[in-house]
């Protein structure tokens, strides 16, 4: 369906609504994924899904309905269902009404790349074979995914909101495994042409080889150098625990009540920016509201959190353009998190550590004590001992139990280079550097 056809379809459905206010959100996605393991492709899929969600408002009553039937009849029916649902709902006194339209900046042309949208399964297989061949040359086993996606997001409402964005994502991941070690590589971009399977394979193979025959280190507090992949897992948990209005409502937000105060190292700046072309831009949210730049931490000082129109009205703020599909139980969410770049390199960081741990990835993080962002998880796919400024050998994976606020407080170095890490949920990305923290607590050893 063309952009114009989708626009006309949504507009016709809006005209047919009997509700006081109506909003239609359409998400159309063509995606494909080549999944490989044990040096072969074991699943290879494509998916073509359209989904339309309608929010109908009758006074203070809100009804919502969605469908995968994206025909004119399907939209007409789902609008009717949402209106009917609204009439039967109790009043929601906190509901502020659908947001009024605001100007949305057009995202850069680099968000949608034709070559990505039109990529062929054979091309993905060839890329995967390059990774597998590299692993096999070292007697290792390759696993991973090569995913491509072409998505359209359109929001239209009876208040005059009309927003449309099309974007592509290509992401290749490699986990290379040996008898007692593993390594990791990942690259993502809107442009499939920027994905370099050889570089990804090389990075993962090198790590798997270098960390062979790991030794066990006693758990305890270590100085750590974290790769961008490791930082991503930690920032995902931080986003959940502390960066949204819902986290304030739930008292899990360590920023609450500390705006402007020095909370962590002045080296650390964290923000959400849906327009920065260095990431994977998304110019508006699921209410069609423009994405605002939101600072969570500015040189270590406490900043703000993200809002959608509901939480904004409830707490006396304005929406920052971070609504997910409405209504929902998650609240607003930052989908384009950046950590400000530093002036170091990963090699510099390692050279500054006398004895510490280099972490390629963290895994299965989960909050232990949300208010201080205390989380637990384990390392995986390449954990090194650093001795006298060098990554000397692999160590067995370690479990950490650590306050992320404390970790940021003890951060002493951040890299210039940042990796673009597309979200596994198919929308948005984080742009993150490597970082060095002087204290990070590992609490047990994995076998």
């Amino acid at each position: 369906m063309s952009r114009e056809e989708l626009h006309d379809l949504m507009q016709d459905a809006l005209k047919g609504s009997e509700a006081d206010q109506t909003e239609i959100v359409a998400m159309m996605t063509d995606s494909a994924l080549t999944w490989y393991a044990e040096n072969m492709i074991h699943q290879h899929v494509a998916e073509h899904t359209g989904q339309v969600q309608v929010r109908a408002v009758q006074g203070k009553k809100v009804g919502s309905s969605s469908t995968t039937d994206c025909t004119a009849e399907g939209l007409k029916l789902v609008v009717q269902q949402a209106s009917q649902a609204a009439r039967l709902m109790p009043d929601d006194p906190d509901f502020p009404g659908l947001p009024q339209p605001q100007p949305v900046l057009v995202a850069s042309n680099s968000s949608w790349i034709a070559e990505t949208a039109q990529s062929k399964p054979e091309e993905r297989v060839q890329a995967v074979r390059n990774v597998i061949d590299r692993a096999e040359r070292e007697g290792l086993r390759a696993a991973g995914t090569y995913a491509v996606q072409d998505s359209e997001l359109a929001v239209m409402s009876s208040t005059g909101v009309a927003a449309y964005h099309r974007y592509t994502v290509a992401a290749l991941k490699a986990v290379i495994m040996g008898e007692d070690s593993s390594g990791y590589g990942f690259m993502s971009s809107a442009d499939v042409g920027e994905i370099d399977p050889d570089a990804i394979g090389e990075q993962a193979v090198r790590t798997a080889v270098e960390t062979r025959h790991p030794i066990e280190v006693e758990p305890g507090a270590f100085e750590v150098v974290l790769s961008p992949f490791a930082v991503e897992e930690l920032m995902s948990m931080m986003a959940y625990l502390a960066f949204s209005a819902r986290s304030v409502e739930e008292h899990t937000c360590f920023l609450e009540g500390h705006e402007g105060e020095q909370i962590v190292s002045p080296l650390v700046s964290l923000y959400d920016d849906g327009l920065d072309p260095a990431g994977m831009p998304l110019p508006f949210d699921f209410e069609g509201m423009p994405k605002n730049h939101v600072d969570f931490l500015i040189h270590g000082r406490g900043g703000s959190v993200v809002y959608d129109s509901y939480y904004a009205a409830k707490s006396g703020h304005v929406t920052t353009g971070h609504a997910l599909q409405q209504p929902n139980d998650m609240g607003p969410y930052p989908l384009n998190i950046f950590m400000g770049a530093g002036d170091s390199t990963e090699a510099d960081m390692v050279s500054h550590v006398e004895r510490g741990i280099y972490v390629t990835r963290f895994w299965y993080g989960n909050p232990v004590e949300p208010r201080r962002a205390v989380v637990t998880g384990t390392t995986r796919d390449g954990t090194y001992l650093i001795e006298n400024g060098r990554k000397t050998r692999g160590v067995h994976n370690l479990r950490f139990t650590q306050s992320l606020v404390d970790m940021l407080e003890h951060t002493v170095e951040i890299s210039r280079n940042r990796a673009v890490l597309a979200s596994r949920y198919g929308i948005g990305a984080m742009v993150l550097p490597s970082m060095r923290s002087e204290e990070f607590r590992f609490t047990s050893v994995s076998r």
Binding site: L33, W35, Y36, A37, E38, N39, M40, I41, H42, Q43, H44, V45, A46, E47, H48, V62, G63, S64, S65, S66, T68, Q81, A85, L88, M89, D92, D94, P121, E122, Q126, R129, I132, R141, A143, T145, A174, M177, S182, E250, H251, T252, P327, W363, N366, V368, R371, T376, G377, T378, R380, N397, R399, T401, S403, R424, R441, T443, S444, V445, R447
Partner: protein
Amino acid sequence: MDKFAERVLRAAKRLGATYCDCRAVDMEREDISVVGGMPRAAVHAHQRGFGVRIIADGAWGFSSSSVVTDAEADRIVEEAVAIAHASALAKKADIVLAPVDAVQDMVPHQADIDPFLISDAEKMSVLAEATRAMMVPFVVLARGQMQFLKERKTFASSEGTCVIQDRIESGAGISAMAASDRGGVQVRSYPMSFSGDNAQAGWEFIEGMKFLEHAGPTAREAVALLSARPCPSCVLDLVVGGQQLALQVHESCGHPSELDRVMGMEASFAGTSFLTPEKKGNFRYGSDIVNLTADATIPHALGALAYDDEGVKGRKVYLVRNGIFEQYLNSRASAPVVGEEPMGAMRADGFGRAPIVRMTSINLEPGDLTFGQLIGGVENGLYVDGIRSWSIDDRRLNFQFGSEIGWIIKGGKLQDMVRNPTYTGVTYEFWRSCDGIGGPDLYHVWGVDNCGKGEPMQVAHVSHGTAPARFRQVHVGVLHE
């Protein structure tokens, strides 16, 4: 077999596929949430579409679409075949499926009262009443949620199987968050945290939860936790409540028993498993009293199924019998590799995703102890329950779990309440230390609707039958400072 599925299977054969299955899904969902007595969200969703799985050139191809037309069927089959041919460029061996009998069947749902016939207003009012009742002093947030699913799934294969399965699921839960002036935050949930308890049942399941009766006690426990002492950090005997044990079974038995994970297929995401094939039939997973089953036949269990998404009949198998690891959760392609028969554990999330090995209902069989006997057998220990936090390594060995609430056990009796209890260990060491399991009176099958696995991510609805159980000498109270 319906005409649409016939068309798909014919087209696949014409294009050279040696195997094809078509899975059409028509699904309604409803999610209701209430905060502090006020409606927060009511979302109705309808999904309809089909997925086509092909073997051609000895390799898999899969494609799916939400457009259910003849023309789209032809296009999707063509794409699935093309993908299979591309996959074959990197194959090591042809896919071989274990033989299964072709079946034709129609399976009804298990609900007495269709929850989709109950108005949103009535659902909201149940949660509103309960969450209002939880707003006692120091409770700052009271949440309630319900979720319902109604599905018709039609599976047809080129081997002659055609199964139509209807399914209705209902689930709900409430939680109270209490906050102190000093910044402490505590949560208690009923009947279980996150989305509560879920079952293949109707509105009668929600009515049976009696939220209003439990709202006050749940809220008062959250408040009491604010002034409870912190969990001690030491090695103690541990009694784990049924809810928490459901999580333990899920993470440390269910996932490591998935044969695709064991064979490395999940290595790039969820990881692998310590339960490698040479351990089958001889590895001491737990103590003699530990019996863990995968049972797809339990009436109303959320993870039960009549047939999986390969058309294999669901059944009961022992994963661990008398403490010894015995069998995997498997698929038609993976089962023969380790000398097993397919046992009906291939499941897909909706129409859009290809099936992968999933849990059904994974259960710790009950023992014969009363709750008093479990606690009475502990001189110095801790009792914990209420799932709060979980983490386990990528081989499913090193785990660390947190519970909502705990109580010190001294001299065989429950004593002081403790806050933020955690415990950690290594899977097989933990299960080997199990020396007491509650009896059938304490046994409950918990429905869990948020099990994530696979790429792209798929969410499965599974269940876990558990009773409280006792474990000796466990490291509790992991310190982070």
